[in-house]
Amino acid sequence: MARFLLYRIFQAFFVIIAVTLIVSFAIRLTGDPALMLSQGAGSVTEEDLANIREALGLNQPFLAQYMDFLKGLLVGDLGKSFMGGISVTELVARALPATLALAFTSLIVSIVISIPLGIKAATSRGRWPDQVIRILSLVGLSFPNFWLAIMLVLLFSITMSWLPPSGMEGFESFIMPAATMGIILTATNVRLVRTTMLETLNAQFVMVARAKGLSENVVLYKHALRNCSIPLITYFGLQFGGLLGGIVVIERVFNWPGLGTLAFDAVAARDYPVLQGVITVLSLLIISINLIVDIAYGLVDPRMRKG
């Protein structure tokens, strides 16, 4: 177990270094931030530019700058925005809760839909309910998430005027964004639940539970589902990365005040420190969740401890 832990932590550490390095390198490709910063500032002398570079630490070699960024990261300092010098950490901290709230509601929506559907598909394997669910899942997989969001807005905000088309205010504003991501996630989750359930239903304890005369719902939802929960939680946890990626896009449609909106505003304003901060925080989040899920799985199921 100690070896497995060490290996996984080393691996996560490597990924963090690789991801931050890639992102820092990409941001470096932009050219001279000093020029961008001084744009529209009227007459800019070479001396002004040199001062800005000095202040931002831009006259140091790339690796030194990268080490500075890493040092800052360790103490939670992601640098300063080009726009007004606001701390990036503060901007990210303000936007992160909105994104996380949406991620968790979407995950819950998807779990609530996919568990009964997946179980139904597994128990009617090969017969029509299974096939209908399979087709639905394929259709769900084929939806561009942003278009599904636009269609929901068209239907429920513009045609019916039931729900607010954008923003994050109150419970109602969560419905459409969470439904969009929830539906897209459900398309994959249904198949995961079905596959896991099929394996469990062959187990002897299910036969015993049925032989005892327990009702089918108790057998499925209490005995079988509980035994599926460990692999399922792992799958759901590992989806977090994809979920966050999808939410970044969806936020654009709903003007959701989260990290995606922050990132796109940063792209439009060429505010690269903010973009770097957002991507770094999102990747750190995904890496830690993957790590936690893996370690938790290793703790409960020793077979998973092999690298």
């Binding site: 970044v248 792209v267 991507i279």
Partner: protein, 286 residues
Amino acid sequence: MTTQSLSGNNQFQKFKNLEFILGALLLGSISLAVLFSSWLFPDGGTQINLAMRLTAPMTELAYPLGTDPLGRDILARVIIGSEISLKVGIYSSLGAVAVGIIMGLISGYYGGFIDALVMRFADVQLALPFILLAITFIAVIGGGLTNMIILLVISQWVQYARLVRGSVLALKDREFILSAKAIGVKDIRILFQHLLPNLIGPVIVLVTLNVANNILLESSLTFLGLGVDPTIPSWGGMLAEGRTYLQTAWWVSVFPGLAILLTVLGLNLLGDWLRDTLDPTGKTSV
């Protein structure tokens, strides 16, 4: 258990056939539309007709799906827009599969440095969703068709490499490979003539699903203004335009999205059908 699957067998076969027919029908009609698009719409869907701007569908014979804010024919633009999506989807998947097969064969057969590289790359890829990588790089180096395809190849070759690597590891100690080695067949021939044909099934399934996925990614990026040039008709670009007019002209946002949905669905249906045919052990299943 056995009785259940036996009774379901016939019905399952019918379902599989239906999947194939639906998928082939969808993709067939899209291919036809692409083939004849330049003949049907010689102006490339770019002709502006401000007098007819935002015409609703089914009201004018010349514009069966209506017109956009500049009075351009939506039907023409949807059909011509398929070209961008298919180009990005197909080229990026082919590029990724070519790199992935070579890296996977080497990594599985020889191990060593390439193997370590593939596995570490896979770790990074799992932690960084493509859309974030794309936003970062495209914000910096700019969008466009070529950049998008290159980014997709860079971020996706590794899934093929892993799939191929796994199959090579399972196959390389089998008798037919050992005997080929024993009679002195060259490595390159073992890799491409003996190993590759035995592991290509799941790879083909993955390519089909990958094209579908990349079409979705391309349209997202273009919708966000990070993809292809907005002056070229593309589904994502049309949807970005349509958003502003959602209140008054629903059709501008409905038809391009429907086109994406049907194309991707066609590919997913065929991929699912192929999976049962080419990948019975389920290496590519979710």
